[in-house]
Structure formats: structure tokens, C-alpha cells
């Protein structure tokens, strides 16, 4: 199929008119040639929509007038903030303005709601998407890391500490406190919406203390939130991770979108985490006060 001319052939349809199975099929087609394709199934996409407050009425699917699918773009909404995610254009229809049309549609949706701030992440080295976002007025804020730790990583004994496991309720109370500015995926709302959330809190012998909250699925630990209340963040995080991995030695672990300047980061490397890939975080507009409290 030749490049698509958006002025003549694109129609933008609310994503809510499609089933999760249909949206998944479109989304997966847009990613088949990605270095990090991250395909989804319908259940995962439904969970994604719920966890990240994606508004499917204001998200869009692009199609030709004949009904051939071209791409998809999704909009998350929280208070006075918007998030653009899952943007993808089916490979053989790229370079025809579909991506820009999808982006402009969501920016317009945000404007109609008087939302003046939007954020997104783009995989590092995805130059066409990065260039498009710059062209549309997004600016770079920093780099985000996606880290993994396999269940075969060397066993680590828990650091001696006064440690306490927390249930979902107690964990979410802590998450709701000020954690500084976070990428959308790691904001408090994401954890409030997620299933199987629990936490750990500990105090070290020297009085250092902190907590972590995480999601534990059948085979995977993920969605980490950290806070060091007293002491060196890397030391406190290492102690927390040592207890976590001692408790769940057979679980795979994925940490998504940890900021490259996060002071807890050295603890991850010391604990055997490896870098999968990086994203660039980009913002559009002036960050509202609500962002700093998430």
C-alpha cells in the first residue's frame, strides 16, 4: 500500500467503537517491526486502559475511507493532565501523515477539555516518532530506564533490618503521599488502579528507613514505587530489594520507567538488574501543580 495522504483518505474513529480484541489487533499490527514490539492481548490491553486511565471515547483509530486500518493513538486523562500512549501506524502506511493526524486529534481532544499539559514517552532511537513529537511542540524532560532481573540472578540474603510487609490498603496510603514528579505509568493513580499491590517498609540499624510498593502477579514483580524517608536512597533501596527478592526468589522482575537520575538506581544494578532499553520522556505545556505531587 502506498503512503497515505491524510487529507483525502483518513477517517478518525473513537476507539470506544472497537472491541478490545479489535484494538489489540490494530495495535499489534503497528508494532510488528519494532525492535521492542511489546505486543498485547485483549486482556492486557483492558488492564492497561484501566490502570492508566485511558479514555477510549477520546482515543482514536485511523482508517481509510474504505475501512482499512491505519493506526491507533490513546489518551490518558487525570485531573489537568493528559498522556498520549500506544501511538502506532501500520508499517506499510507510514510516512503519509497518519501519525501526525492521530497526534493532532488527541491534542485537540485535550484542548477541548481545557487540559494544557500533556506527557508521553518514546523509545530511545525511534527517530521518526521523536521528530514528530518535537515538531508538535513536545520537549524532552529526561530518560527513563526499563530494567529486568531474572529469577536466576544470584541469591541475596536479606539485609538485617526491622522489616514489615504491608497489605494493599497500607501500601496505597504511602503511595498517595508526595513522591515527586513521576512518569504517568508510575504515578500514584496507576498503583491505585492496579491489582495485587502490596508493599514493604523497613528501618535499618542506623535509623535509615523507607518503603517500596509493588505489584505481584503470578510470574512477575513490577510497578515499583520507592521512597526513602531517612538515609541514603541507594542503601535503603538495596535493603528493600534484598527482602523482596528473598521473599519471591522465583519471580521474574520488570521495573518500568525509572528515571535515570533516580537516587535509588544504584541499588538495582547492585542487585543484578540489567537494562532492557530506554525511553525519552517528553512534555507539552507547563506542568501543573498536580504533577509534582504524584
Amino acid at each position: 500500500m502506498p503512503p497515505t495522504n491524510p487529507n483525502t483518505t483518513i477517517q478518525l474513529i473513537p476507539a470506544s467503537r472497537f472491541s478490545f480484541e479489535q484494538l489489540t489487533a490494530i495495535y499489534n499490527q503497528t508494532r510488528v517491526d519494532y525492535m521492542v514490539p511489546m505486543p498485547m492481548n485483549a486482556a492486557r490491553l483492558a488492564e492497561y486502559v484501566n490502570t492508566y486511565d485511558v479514555d477510549l471515547d477520546r482515543s482514536v483509530v485511523a482508517a481509510t475511507q474504505d475501512g482499512d486500518m491505519l493506526g491507533v493513538n490513546m489518551l490518558g486523562l487525570r485531573e489537568d493532565r493528559a498522556w498520549i500512549t500506544r501511538l502506532g501506524v501500520i508499517p506499510n502506511t507510514r510516512r503519509g501523515g497518519v501519525g501526525q493526524a492521530l497526534m493532532e486529534s488527541l491534542m485537540e481532544q485535550s484542548s477541548r477539555l481545557s487540559i494544557k499539559f500533556a506527557m508521553l514517552e518514546v523509545i530511545k532511537n525511534n527517530t521518526p516518532a521523536h521528530q514528530l513529537f518535537l515538531k508538535l511542540g513536545f520537549y524532552e524532560v529526561g530518560e527513563l530506564l526499563i530494567l529486568r532481573r531474572s529469577p536466576f540472578t544470584q541469591h541475596v540474603d536479606p539485609i538485617v533490618a526491622d522489616a514489615e510487609r504491608m497489605d494493599r490498603t497500607d501500601s496505597l496510603v504511602l503511595v498517595g503521599r508526595d513522591r515527586g514528579t513521576q512518569p504517568w505509568t508510575n504515578q500514584s493513580e496507576s498503583l491505585f488502579n492496579a491489582f495485587e499491590v502490596s508493599g514493604l517498609r523497613l528501618t535499618l540499624a542506623d535509623g535509615s528507613r523507607g518503603w517500596m510498593v509493588y505489584q505481584r502477579q503470578k510470574f512477575l514483580l513490577s510497578r515499583f514505587a520507592f521512597k526513602t524517608e531517612v538515609g541514603d536512597p541507594a542503601t535503603v533501596a538495596y535493603a528493600l530489594l534484598s527482602h523482596l527478592h528473598y521473599q519471591y526468589p522465583r519471580l521474574d522482575t520488570q521495573v518500568e520507567n525509572i528515571q535515570i537520575n533516580d537516587p535509588h538506581l544504584p541499588a538495582f544494578y547492585k542487585m543484578g538488574y540489567v537494562e532492557s532499553f530506554r525511553r525519552i520522556e517528553m512534555w507539552h505545556g507547563t506542568p501543573p501543580a498536580s504533577l509534582g505531587m504524584k
Binding site: 489489540t24 499489534n28 508494532r31 510488528v32 519494532y34 525492535m35 521492542v36 514490539p37 511489546m38 505486543p39 498485547m40 492481548n41 486482556a43 492486557r44 529486568r148 532481573r149 531474572s150 529469577p151 536466576f152 540472578t153 510470574f219 512477575l220 522465583r250 521474574d252 543484578g272 540489567v274 537494562e275 532492557s276 532499553f277
Partner: protein, 123 residues
């Protein structure tokens, strides 16, 4: 017949592997996602597992972890098939217990077949 389990969600890639290996004495068993992949691996105990790292339910690293925890698969080489940069692919292979990796896209069929044969011969 030598059994190869291919865990891959993209139909074109499945077709490519099937075509490349057809007529060479391999039985290709296909799973489109991680859950099915584990189930078929435990049912068939294949001679080789080719594992795409990007799967729709759990990714290939997590699946390799489940498989490596199953003693009945101890003798089965698990090979990652990935488009990741070589450095990342190596790090993932080492930490997740893979026996090696094959880079995507698969462009040279003869090279691909040689890699498959090499993994099957590795004790």
C-alpha cells in the same frame, strides 16, 4: 522426527520459519503466546525451543524463566529470537538461562538453518 517448538505471535514470522525448515525432518509445533508455549513445551518436550521475546501475554524472558524452572526441559535448548541490539540480546540471554539467540529479521535461510542445526547438536 526432531521437534521444534516455535513460540511466536506474528503469523508472517511463523510462516517464514515453517518454510525455511520444511522438508528437513523437523516437526514444527507452534504457540502464539507464552501460556500456550509453556503448555506445549511440557506436553511435547521438544528438542529445541525458539522463543520470540515479544509475546502478547508474558514476554519471552519471563517464559524462559518458567521453562528453565521445569526439570523435564533441562535438556532442551531454549533460543531467543529477537530484534534487540546484540549487546542487549547477550545480556538477556545470559541472565535468563537461554542457550543462545538468533537475530531478527531472518534474512539468510541457510544461515538460519545452520544456527538451528548447531543448537540441536550442542549437548
Amino acid at each position: 522426527m526432531t521437534k521444534i517448538l516455535l513460540v511466536e505471535d506474528i503469523p508472517d514470522n511463523v510462516a517464514l520459519v515453517r518454510k525455511a525448515l520444511s522438508g528437513r525432518g523437523y516437526e514444527i509445533i507452534h504457540a502464539p503466546d507464552a501460556e500456550t508455549g509453556l503448555q506445549l513445551a511440557l506436553t511435547h518436550i521438544p528438542d529445541l525451543i525458539l522463543l520470540d521475546l515479544g509475546l502478547p501475554d508474558y514476554d519471552g524472558q519471563t517464559l524462559a524463566g518458567w521453562m528453565r524452572a521445569e526439570s523435564v526441559l533441562d535438556a532442551t535448548p531454549i533460543v531467543a529470537v529477537t530484534a534487540w541490539p546484540e549487546e542487549t540480546a547477550k545480556a538477556m540471554v545470559e541472565s535468563y538461562g537461554f542457550d543462545g539467540y538468533i537475530c531478527k529479521p531472518i534474512l539468510k535461510v541457510n544461515e538460519f538453518i545452520a544456527q538451528i542445526e548447531s543448537f540441536l547438536k550442542t549437548p
